[in-house]
């Protein structure tokens, strides 16, 4: 049961109420939790997926968006293989804060971390951020981009599966024996230059 070939840490960040917990629950439990309360501290969930006949274990850390939990959240950046930065497409303020979040990521995360921008709640009628604006932002900051709806289960599975396969690819290319540097700044599993944006999601 607990045999897996790869283990990846995925960390979700973003303003309070953008739907991080709902995305995780949709992916791990296949449901949209009614009356989801704000996350306290950080939540931890595991889901093992199968990709190309390999078991990939995803360790998902769902952080609290509220300001007072920032120090807890910050401590998780460093060990993340992938960071999912979420905003709410129906809320301009959550989009405006992306800059701040990026600053945090720059400061605390490994520069090799896989970064994904997610615009959530596409099911809502009152959209404030057009898709192209989100896409643009992601492009400018070397991030993958995808729009989701945790409520309608849109793109949620894909979001995590693409992350898993991307990380798996990176890990594999890293498996080749390498000699040079006494890798100080990176863990053994993340490489990736985050090059082309959105390619795999579009």
């Amino acid at each position: 049961m607990d045999d897996y070939k790869f283990l990846f840490k995925v960390v979700l960040v973003g303003n309070a109420g953008v739907g991080k917990t709902c995305l995780v629950r949709r992916f791990t439990q296949g449901l949209f939790p009614p009356g989801q309360g704000a996350t306290i501290g950080v939540d931890f969930m595991i889901k093992t997926v199968e990709l190309e006949n390999e078991k990939v274990k995803l360790q998902i850390w769902d952080t609290a968006g509220q300001e007072r939990f920032r120090s807890i959240t910050q401590s998780y950046y460093r060990s993340a293989h992938a960071l999912i930065l979420v905003y709410d497409i129906s809320s301009q303020p959550t989009f405006d804060c992306l800059q701040d979040w990026l600053r945090e990521i720059e400061e605390y995360a490994s520069n090799k971390v896989l970064r994904v921008l997610v615009g959530n709640k596409t099911d809502r009628e009152d959209r404030e951020i057009p898709t192209s604006v989100g896409e643009d932002f992601a492009n400018r900051h070397n991030m993958y981009f995808v729009e989701t709806s945790a409520k309608e289960a849109e793109n949620v599975e894909r979001l995590f599966m693409v992350i898993a396969s991307e990380l798996m690819e990176q890990a594999r290319s890293k498996e080749l024996p390498r000699y040079e540097t006494p890798a100080l700044s990176s863990r053994s599993t993340s490489v990736g230059d985050g090059g082309c944006c959105g390619g795999r999601f579009s």
Partner: protein, 782 residues
């Protein structure tokens, strides 16, 4: 078709026909025999026919009878049912008559009881009155043409109820104001009798809340009056919170039984919800004091700026003027801090000394843990209180409890406090680790490691422990994560930086002669220590750092084991959910990647050591091989074999080299060093062999020498290095052949020879044998 052309055939056919006839006869006879039997049976049936008719008639009759009986039964049971209804009406009627009689009694009773101020008695009557089915009573009374008097009773009792409620409320408030516990309890008990539980609970909770306020003010004052030099002074605010929470717990414990006895279970949450408002107010006061007096906001801002700006904290700290350092040394610190809230540029630039943060961090952690304990206490109490209720009620109650507690100010304030604590703890760790690096020295003469190792792990373990004392798993995990980051980034790159300097550059310039000179001066005790001491200590430090990297692996293992225990004890095994456990072990596993990085660092250090201390010295030793003659006569061989000058010299030198490191390196590092030396020597040996020529006896001598060398190296380490020696051994084997043709036997045989040499390499090596003909070697099938 067969034609009947012979007598034999005719006979045969006749025989067949006769046989058939006989069979037919037999068959007929048996049929005839059965006729009798059948006739008898038919007879019987004919006789039975009339009986069947009778049976049918009987069955019809029976069916009639049954249906009749059932009708009868139904009508009987209907009657019974009617009887039942009648009986219950009668008893209802009796009850109503009883009620009517009681009604009068109640009316009278209440009146006298009220007149005599016997409130319990009056309430008893009212309680009886409220339990009656008033609408039904009115109806009955109107049938009995007693409507008026009953109506009267109702009006009077209703107004008596109202009156009593007012009286009880008033008396309760008076008792509460005087803090007359006996009276408070007396009137509190009456509310439920008057059908006014909610009102009673509300008033009672408010009364308790008032008690809390008084108590909290007293304790806060005592705490604030704690003299500055008192032992508890550094934790007075945590103490104040402790006293507050303990006070609330005491109040609850003292009053819960009353509530439960007279109001039943399931009411505690309402009381606590009200008390929590008070608790919120009081804890906010205490925390506000803490933040102000400890200058928390300012420190947090400083630390935040320092780590955000990534400013050269180093220089900022060391450039702080001596005056201010003196001030802090003379204890003028609290005063200065309190005065610096204005935020002058200068004081903003100053970063706090981690040591100064120690008491504050302790206090924050303790404060958080007290709140955590208090919340746990409330949860336990409320859960027990809901236990007797039904499933649904309990679930709703527990859900409500979580909402109440999580939305409380206290909870939010504590989350903020924890956030500040974590920020400061991170700063504390990274600054202390940085300091440990600048103060790094050798622990002592025979110490393999330097002070940074003990210091860093001491700091990290201490901080993680402190975080676990806060009682928050999320907080503990955050500090563990931060500690991992510190080790992986700061500590590893520190070691890496140190190792990058190399094992004293002096060695690189040492030619074999210079080295020999140095050695002989050593032997003669003429070493000029003063000029050597600098590079000496650099070398010792280099080895210490190499050892630090290796020893860290063990330190981490020990630390993880210790921490798991620490954390489980300080948070409490029974308070840990499965999810908490999973979080913890996942975060602890972060040390795994630290371990990997440390291994890289150690490996890098070894490479450095090999490059500076091994390669330059072994080169000349091995090169001596080329000066020796490898085409030996029997005589030469005999004398060579006697003392193997080359290899014994090499081994002697290696022994000298390795033994100089043996005591100075950790076991693992020493083993790894021997491994590297083995690789280095074999590569170098291979090179010089390829530049030499051998005859039969020269090959034999080489084979012996290689064996001796391999024997020495294998014995020098606990690791298996056979692999590293395989090529060299095989080269010696090839050079030690009697004649070229032997080679194809070796090559083809399954003698377990896993050849590390390619066929062309083998040929090349064989060509080194002057006595082997190139022709023959070429012809070999390999």
């Amino acid at each position: 078709m067969d034609c009947i052309d012979s007598r034999e055939k005719i006979d045969e056919l006749y025989k067949k026909l006769t046989q058939q006839e006989e069979e037919n006869d037999k068959y007929l006879e048996s049929i005839m025999a059965r006729q009798v039997n059948l006739e008898a049976k038919l007879n019987n049936i004919t006789k039975a026919l009339p009986n069947l008719q009778i049976l049918h008639n009987d069955a019809v009759k029976l069916a009639d009878m049954i249906s009749h009986t059932s009708t009868l039964a139904e009508s009987v049971s209907a009657k019974v049912r009617q009887l039942d209804i009648s009986r219950s009406r009668v008893s209802e009627c009796q009850q109503r008559v009883q009620d009517l009689q009681d009604l009068k009694l109640c009316k009278e009773g209440v009146k006298t009881a009220l007149e005599n101020e016997e409130y319990e008695k009056a309430a008893g009557h009212i309680h009886r009155f409220l339990a009656m089915d008033q609408a039904a009573l009115k109806k009955t009374a109107s049938h009995m043409s007693q409507g008026r008097s009953v109506e009267d009773c109702f009006t009077q009792l209703d107004s008596a109820t109202k009156e009593l409620r007012l009286i009880v409320a008033k008396n309760f408030e008076q008792a509460a104001a005087k803090d007359n516990a006996a009276d408070v309890e007396r009137f509190f008990k009456i509310f439920p009798l008057l059908g006014d539980k909610a009102e009673g609970l509300k008033r009672f909770s408010t009364y308790l809340a008032g008690k809390l306020t008084v108590m909290a003010q007293k304790t806060l004052k005592t705490c604030l009056d704690t003299p500055i030099h008192d032992k508890r002074a550094p934790v007075v605010y945590a103490d104040a919170l402790t006293l507050l929470f303990e006070g609330i717990a005491r109040v609850l414990e003292a009053h819960q039984p009353i509530v439960e006895t007279f109001y039943g279970p399931g009411n505690l949450l309402d009381v606590i919800e009200r008390l929590q408002q008070e608790c919120d107010k009081e804890s906010r006061k205490i925390l506000t004091e803490l933040i102000q007096r400890r200058n928390l906001d300012h420190i947090v801002r400083q630390v935040d700026d320092a780590s955000r700006g990534g400013a050269p904290m180093h220089t900022v700290a060391s450039s702080a003027s001596l005056v201010s350092m003196a001030a802090s040394a003379s204890g003028g610190q609290t005063h200065r801090r309190a005065g610096s809230t204005g935020g002058s540029v200068e004081s903003d630039r100053k970063v706090p000394d981690p040591r100064d943060l120690d008491p504050l961090l302790n206090e924050l952690s303790i404060a958080h843990s007290r709140a955590e304990l208090y919340m746990r206490f409330l949860r336990r109490r409320i859960t027990t209180d809901f236990e007797s209720g039904d499933e649904e009620q309990r679930e709703a109650g527990l859900k409500q409890m979580e909402l109440v507690l999580q939305r409380s100010d206290l909870c939010r304030l504590m989350q903020e406090l924890l956030g500040h604590y974590l920020l400061l703890e991170r700063y504390y760790m990274s600054e202390s680790v940085r300091k440990a690096m600048t103060l790094d020295t050798l622990d002592g003469e025979d110490s393999q490691t330097s002070s940074v190792l003990d210091d860093v792990f001491y700091i990290l373990r201490m901080s993680i422990r402190r975080s676990s004392q806060s009682g928050s798993m999320d907080g503990t995990c955050a500090v563990i994560n931060d500690a991992c980051t510190l080790l992986e980034i700061d500590f590893c790159s520190y070691l890496h930086r140190q190792l990058k300097k190399g094992y004293s550059s002096g060695y690189l310039d040492l030619t074999a002669q210079a080295y020999n000179m140095w050695q002989s001066s050593l032997q003669q005790g003429r070493l000029n220590t003063s000029t050597q001491s600098d590079s000496d200590s650099a070398r010792v430090m280099f080895l210490a750092h190499l050892n630090n990297a290796d020893a860290s692996l063990e330190f981490i293992k020990v630390m993880i084991r210790g921490l798991e225990e620490d954390i489980v004890t300080s948070i409490g095994a029974k308070n840990l959910t499965a999810n908490d456990q999973a979080k913890l072990s996942s975060c602890l596993s972060g040390f795994g990647s630290v371990t990997a990085s440390l291994r890289h660092v150690a490996e890098y250090g070894l490479q450095q050591l090999i490059a500076s201390a091994v390669k330059p010295r072994t080169g000349p030793w091995v090169d001596a091989f080329m000066q020796a003659n490898h085409q030996l006569t029997e005589e030469e061989f005999a004398s060579y074999e006697a003392d193997e000058p080359f290899v014994q010299n090499l081994i002697h030198n290696l022994e000298g080299l390795l033994s100089s490191f043996k005591a100075k390196l950790t076991f693992a590092n020493y083993d790894a060093l021997v491994g590297h030396v083995a690789s280095e020597i074999t590569t170098q040996m291979e090179k010089v062999i390829m530049k030499s020529c051998f005859n039969r006896l020269g090959g034999l001598a080489l084979d012996k020498e290689v064996r001796a060398l391999a024997g020495y190296l294998t014995a020098a380490t606990t690791l298996s290095i056979r692999d590293k020696l395989a090529r060299l051994t095989q080269i010696a084997t090839v050079l030690n052949l009697e004649k070229p043709s032997e080679m194809s036997d070796y090559w083809g045989s399954s003698a377990g020879h896993l050849w590390r040499l390619t066929a062309s390499e083998v040929r090349q090596i064989m060509l080194l044998r002057v006595d082997f003909k190139a022709e023959e070697i070429k012809k070999l099938k390999l």
